[in-house]
């Protein structure tokens, strides 16, 4: 894997729903280990963009290239569905805003963490259990809860379990849709700290959709600002927040308390 090549290249991605433009001509590069925040108000196209680049919904035009481990840069939408699925459960992760969308709520925490490994052919119960237990510890869940279903977990624990479930295959890229919204402030701080440590230690690249500029400031190296399906501004996170250039970004930054 080369560090002199982007991990993902997004070019001219557009999508319409009937007459409505959901995404228009979005392009960016993401480098290994880089954390990119996508910010904007509700309806600005943030989540549509995330779903498009994570190959969860196909854009009308444009391309998404990903640096695969075996075959170099590959067009994600040129892959077969089986190849996309394999990528999505090995080298990618997807953390949903609502943990129930990303977890199996009625099977044990351990099985939630082990599922991706089993999908890759690991059948050894002892090893699966040991790995699950190790990952629960890494995301600060007491491993004695390994047999409990996430339905019995708090919101913050569910979100951490969802992260463990995704990271167990040591992906190189993780997509996150508002991962901290809906959590209490103290729980949110803990999750932010955890995410920052994990992205750094694992050299994990991340695309994080958030409406919270303070979250973007703490986690992201780089930021894109979206309005009505377009990227209106992009740059280094503190540059965009401290010296916003576009009228919409200026409005966004001046409308919040101390980002």
């Amino acid at each position: 894997m080369s560090l002199s090549s982007p991990l993902m290249q997004v070019r001219g991605v557009s999508k319409r729903y009937g007459e409505r433009i959901a995404l228009q001509d979005v392009s960016f590069d993401l480098w290994p280990g880089e954390v990119l925040a996508v910010v904007g108000e509700s309806g600005s196209g943030k989540s549509t963009l995330l779903n498009a680049i994570a190959a969860r919904s196909q854009p009308d035009t444009g391309s998404v290239q990903f640096l695969t481990r075996e075959d170099g840069m590959q067009d994600v939408f040129g892959m077969t569905e089986a190849q996309q699925r394999l990528l999505a459960r090995t080298d990618w992760g997807f953390v949903h805003q609502n943990a129930a969308d990303g977890l199996r709520m009625d099977v044990s925490a351990g099985a939630n963490v082990g599922e991706r490994l089993m999908g890759l052919g690991e059948r050894h119960y002892g090893r699966l259990r040991a790995t699950a237990s190790e990952w629960l510890t890494r995301v600060e869940i007491d491993p004695s809860r390994i047999d409990d279903a996430p339905r019995t977990f708090s919101g913050g624990m569910r979100q951490r379990l969802q992260i463990a479930r995704n990271l167990v295959t040591e992906p190189r890229l993780i997509f996150m849709d508002e991962p901290t919204s809906g959590l209490d402030v103290s729980v949110q701080a803990r999750l932010l700290d955890l995410l920052r440590q994990l992205t750094r230690k694992m050299q994990l690249a991340a695309v994080i959709v958030t409406h919270d500029l303070a979250v973007a400031r703490l986690l992201a190296h780089r930021m894109v600002v979206m309005q009505r399906g377009r990227v209106v501004e992009s740059g280094l996170t503190d540059q965009v927040l401290d010296d916003p250039q576009h009228p919409y970004t200026q409005l966004l930054v001046s409308s919040v308390l101390q980002p």
Binding site: D193, K201, H221, G235, L236, Q239, D242, D243, P247
Partner: protein, 238 residues
């Protein structure tokens, strides 16, 4: 003639406030400055003249409207800050430019010791002895800046203004980077700690760092300056 570590030529900055009828505020018109290794340039001028703005443009959290800002680390290649990609800027900040801002901005919940050690820990990766060395160095900085040991394992969010400022100084000076930008680092410090910061700045220039600083306190400025520059001279349009 050696290449300056930092060279600004014809740097201009204005802010356009789109949501206030698009008024444009010109803060700086023609800033020229060269700083060599071992120099400490103190910026003078009344507040509102653009001293902090200048530091922020060098650190690239403000964009530059015109002109050039070149940073050349010793033995390295010049980086044109105004043209650099975000990825290049992240690298430049990691290895070359340290910036002590007026406010500490860190993730809640991380203990003071780790906040200070973080720039060294980033380089350490997962090597246990390197992580240990990073924490030991951080404890030396905290001791030197008189942060009581009982606070080391607490997150700095609840500390006093002066304590937070000292954490910020330690965090941003612990890694010996070639260029240091200091924005009023002693504003809320007592005499003893102010004296320590003066010593730290002198040690930085002695090891060959180039320093550009703003000091509210005239006594600190004159104690560390090898040269003084009045930013009022950066406002003429010629």
């Amino acid at each position: 003639m050696t290449i300056p570590l930092l060279e600004l030529s014809g740097v201009a900055k204005s802010f356009t406030l789109h949501n206030q009828s698009g008024i444009a505020l010109s803060v700086m018109a023609n800033a020229n400055l060269r700083v060599h290794a071992g120099e400490c340039v103190v910026l003078d001028g009344p507040s509102g003249m653009g001293k902090s703005t200048l530091l922020k443009m060098i650190y690239a959290n403000y964009r530059t409207c015109a002109g050039s800002i070149a940073v050349t680390p010793p033995g390295g290649v010049a980086v044109e800050v105004t043209q650099a990609t975000p990825r290049e800027l992240v690298q430049l900040r990691k290895n070359t430019i340290g910036y002590v801002s007026q406010f500490l901005r860190v993730i809640p919940r991380v203990p003071a010791l780790d906040v200070v050690a973080e720039p060294l820990m980033e380089d350490a990766g997962d090597a246990p002895e390197a992580l240990l060395a990073a924490r030991e160095e951080a404890s030396r900085w905290l001791t030197r800046l008189r942060i009581p040991e009982r606070l080391w394992h607490l997150p700095p969010a609840t500390f006093s203004g002066g304590e937070q400022q000292r954490i910020n100084i330690a965090r941003n000076m612990i890694k010996p980077r070639p260029l240091l930008l200091l924005d009023e680092p002693t504003a809320s410090l007592d005499a003893a700690n102010t004296q320590t910061v003066i010593e730290l700045i002198r040690e930085a220039t002695a090891r060959g760092a180039a320093v550009v600083g703003i000091f509210h306190d005239a006594h600190v400025g004159s104690a560390v300056a090898t040269r003084r520059v009045d930013v009022a001279s950066f406002r003429s349009a010629t």
